[in-house]
Amino acid sequence: MIKLRLLEKLKYISISSRISILLGIIILITMGVFSAFSLIKQKDASIDAISHNADQLSKTTEKILRFSMLKNRRAELSMAVRNIVGKEGIMSVRILNHKGIIKFSSNPSEVNKHISQTSQEGIETVQFCESCHKNKYNKLEYDLKNFTQNRIIRKDNLIYNWQPIYNARSCYTEACHSSFEETAARKTNILKDNETYLPVHDSSQTILGFIDIEVSTKRINANLAKTRTQLILFTVIFALIASIVTYFSTKYLIGKPIKNLVEGTKRVAEGNFKDEIPPGKAELKLLAESFNKMQKQLLTTQTQLIESEKLASVGKLADEIANEINNPLTGIIIHSENLIAESNLDKNMISDFETIKLEALKIRESIRNILSFTGGNKPEFKVTFIGDIINHTISIVKKFSNFQNIKIISEIPKSLPNVVIDPTLIEQVFLNLLLIPSESMQAGGILDILVNYSPVNKEIEIVFSDTGKGIPENILKKIFNPINIADLENFEKTGISLAVCKDIIKMHNGTIKINNTGSGTVVTITLPV
């Protein structure tokens, strides 16, 4: 159960978290590898340094002790050997003879024991001797090539180094007993008159013995361990800080804008596309802008849909109303016609019935004109003379109340070529372009419709100009935008908006523009021929 919940939670780890975790892991790995690598290098370098120092140390020690050895000052040697220990991490010093017997040692109990009998762990006699004598103890075969390297053996906390003590003339010519000792020996008759002390060493020996030193690496190791700990700590802390910084910055740069976007899409899915999402940074800013644009588009589409639905329902209503009128109107027409045909009525009565019939026919005409505006959904393109449409429109509107004080002028050249248009739709547009200015020209004015043909552009231009108030600049900018849902209540009485007019013109591959002149407004429509 818990595992399932955890798994589900894992799915919802945010982008910021993922990026920062990933970064943290990358830092840990790279810095870890780097640290390990440099630690190893450091250790090797330190050990090399120590080995070198040990080497130097034993050489130096050998030189220092040589004089005491030459003078056979054994007591001095023992003291020296014991005193050297303790400084610089020197654990023990020994002087051995060539056969491996310890002659002097900082550990007195070792004296006269073979080196293999000491408590040195892991140092076998074999290693010691074999470094020169490839074949065990066979003096004739020795390999001096590897000599230098094998002189130093490393263990965990120790470096063990030994130096050969080379034979020199002074070694085998100096009396091992000093003159003082010789004199004292003669006096006490240990040494007879004809006897001398023989030197301990003879000329045949190349190597008299060895001096070996054990150096502790404990301090270095401790330092290295400390460094290692510090590096690990540093890596972890750095990784953590980097992760945290990354987490918050990605949250700010990416996470929050994406969250806004997600919420925005949720809202759109629920039908609300009015609230814009705040812009993010960089590319996400563009994304937010595109999203907001999309919302505006959706809003536009929605309002257009509502508009056309409203139009459709108005159309249906008009249809029904017309039908309600048409049946009784048939009665009026037919019956008045019937009365007119009655032969024995006087002229005045016939005249009256004719008036009735005429007015009834006018009603019929008006209704048919209204119905033609709410015409079908699919445009039906026909070859039309634009002048006919204009004249028809004028004939309808001039009866409207708004137009009682308005003078309509039209200039239509007779040589105008025909256009392929849906006459119903274009008439809708023209009707609107006359009705809209008439709303503000009830006191009077002039509506001018000028048509001309441009052979160069192969298009017909229709210019509607009025002497009205003109349109304020800020409205002019948005005048072809679809109406907001909020404005639908204050819908113009004309029934379709300029946005729909623009759509109709666009459908015909034409253009429509509105400008203010000094004395009113001008609408220019072009239609391709």
Partner: protein, 137 residues
């Protein structure tokens, strides 16, 4: 000799039935024998029993879809000239016609008479429909 034409008028509005009767009386060349009814079912019943030369129908009738009515009339009387009367806009009538045209067993609707019509118009439409009918037969 005067021609006798038997007409069936189906319309739910009384005034239409009355007006058509008025418009078609007192004709010089033809005598119209007019039968009227107000519902689809009634009309179908009458068609089964009587013979007519032409029929004027407003397809918007209670109880039956206009297309359905015409299809049934055609089943009974495939060749009967039918004129559709309607007070609605032409769009609905176009839909009606296209349905009829799609089905090849139907003869297309002879004509559409838009309401309101004058005496002249209804007479002219009937005349034309009858002429077309006699030409094709």
């Amino acid at each position: 000799m005067k021609q006798t034409i038997k007409i069936l008028i189906i319309d739910k509005e009384e005034i239409i039935l009355k007006s058509v009767k008025k418009a078609l009386k007192n004709n010089d060349h033809t005598d119209f024998v007019i039968t009227t009814c107000k519902s689809a079912l009634e009309g179908l019943k009458i068609i089964r029993t009587d013979k007519f030369d032409i029929s004027l129908i407003d397809p918007i009738l209670p109880g039956m879809n206009g297309n359905e009515l015409i299809r049934r009339i055609r089943n009974i009387y495939p060749a009967l000239p039918i004129i559709i009367m309607s007070g609605y806009s032409t769009i609905r009538l176009d839909q009606l016609n296209s349905v009829a045209e799609q089905n090849e067993s139907f003869k297309p609707i002879s004509d559409i008479l838009k309401k309101p019509f004058t005496t002249e118009e209804i007479k002219s439409v009937i005349k034309k429909a009858l002429e077309n009918y006699s030409i094709s037969n």
